[in-house]
């Protein structure tokens, strides 16, 4: 029977172990080693209803990026959302960004309708057409109190 030397076994253990750790960090931990795959785009919302950093950005249901930062702009009284969009995806400046929910109780994500007539969006630009999240309670109360 083949018998491994102790040193070989230890070397193999450490090597495979480090590979497992790296695999876990990159595949499961979603560590971005190469961030130059993305370009930044910004949008302002009147209500983002609990959208989180790292939430996906989708176009026609396909994931094309993620939310990189969320902050409050108190001069304009809006929520400012910074996104990272994949470089291959071209956006026009009449694109419509909206906050959506996956399912009734699912996570929030951003949906981009790419637009078609405007000028191409440059990295760092702001998309002006944005739709706030639909507030379910708001809708229900409107229905209940008859303001539809």
């Amino acid at each position: 029977m083949l018998k491994l030397r102790k040193e070989t076994a230890v070397g193999l253990f450490v090597l495979v172990g480090l590979l497992a750790i790296i695999y876990m960090s990159i595949k499961l931990g979603n560590v971005q080693l190469f961030t130059d795959k993305y370009y930044p785009v910004r949008a302002n919302f009147t209500d983002i209803a609990g959208l989180k950093v790292n939430a996906p950005v989708q176009m026609y249901g396909v994931s094309i990026g993620f939310v990189s930062d969320i902050s409050l702009d108190q001069e304009l009284n809006v929520a400012r959302v910074d996104m990272m969009i994949e470089k291959e995806v071209k956006l026009m400046d009449d694109a419509i960004v909206s906050v959506k929910t996956s399912g009734l109780i699912g996570d929030k994500y951003l949906k981009i309708d790419p637009g078609g007539l405007g000028d191409p969006v440059n990295p760092g630009d702001t998309l002006f057409d944005s739709q706030p999240a639909i507030d379910l309670e708001d809708l229900i109360s409107k229905f209940a109190f008859g303001k539809v």
Binding site: K6, V10, F13, V14, G17, A20, I21, G29
Partner: protein, 268 residues
């Protein structure tokens, strides 16, 4: 009068003594830990001893960790599938398994398994060396027993615990895929996608931080119990070693679970 005073103060005195002894032992253990960490880097001679210890603590534990990981993953997949499919939420199977495995179960279960497999052996080995006066012989030969016996074990634990936790994670995710997806028929794509999307770097990092701290705890407690086995009151010789081994395993398990609670509340 004297009788009465003793009657009043005896419980107080006992409490005081117990407290002082506990604080004393904790202090000794902490110095022991610092000594071991410092001596890990004492010269190139340490390297070959570390390799031997990694072989014992790490390589020889792979099979048992794989087995435990596989079965706990399989049972998680099964249980959570039944629980979640009641609400029609079996798409969340991957999320539930990945979160509970990576953040909690993998570091804790592998640390407890390693306490049983390697920790008890460390205590027994050092304890027997102590009662057969081999440690005194080392000291006489001007070989620092901490450097020779404890520091390589500490280094091996620091390396092996996170690696074995990573194996545990990957194998348990595969195990719950086996039962949840292959056996019970959850959606395969949804499973892997939710495993990937539910975890972020903080979760993976936290799991590894936990496993490293558990490694330090287990190694310190087990080596300490063996190293000072001759100072146990009332139990000398082989009986003392058996007592030390028992208390090392019990203390390690308690320390792992208590530290797990504290770390979880600190990390997330």
């Amino acid at each position: 009068m004297a009788e009465k005073a003793r009657g009043t103060f005896f419980p107080m005195m006992l409490l005081c003594t117990i407290c002082m002894e506990t604080v004393d032992e904790l202090g000794k253990m902490f110095i022991f830990l610092l000594d071991a960490l410092r001596l890990m880097f004492a010269g190139w001679g340490q390297f070959s001893k570390m390799v031997r210890q990694i072989y014992f603590i790490g390589v020889q534990s792979v099979s048992v960790i794989a087995l435990i990981g596989l079965f706990s993953g399989m049972v998680m997949g099964m249980q959570l599938y039944f629980a979640l499919s009641t609400f029609g939420a079996d798409g969340f199977l991957g999320t539930a398994v990945a979160m509970s495995m990576v953040r909690e179960l993998a570091p804790v279960l592998s640390a407890i398994m390693l306490t049983g497999r390697a920790g008890s052996a460390m205590t027994a080995e050092i304890g027997v060396m102590r009662i057969s006066e081999q440690i005194d012989a080392l000291t006489i030969m001007d070989i620092n027993p901490m450097r020779y016996l404890v520091a390589p074990k500490m280094a091996a634990c620091l390396l092996s615990f996170p690696i074995l936790t990573a194996f545990f994670n990957l194998i348990s995710l595969w195990g719950s895929w086996l039962t949840g997806v292959k056996l019970l028929g959850a959606n395969e794509g949804a499973y892997w996608a939710s495993v990937q999307s539910s975890l972020n770097w903080a979760d993976v990092e936290g799991g590894f931080i936990k496993s490293i701290i558990f490694g330090v705890l287990v190694c310190t407690i087990c080596c300490f119990e063996g190293y000072y086995t001759h100072t146990r009151s009332g139990h000398a010789g082989p009986e003392g070693v058996s007592q030390s081994t028992t208390s090392a395993v019990v203390k390690s398990c308690v320390a792992i679970l208590a530290a797990d609670y504290i770390l979880t509340s600190l990390l997330w």
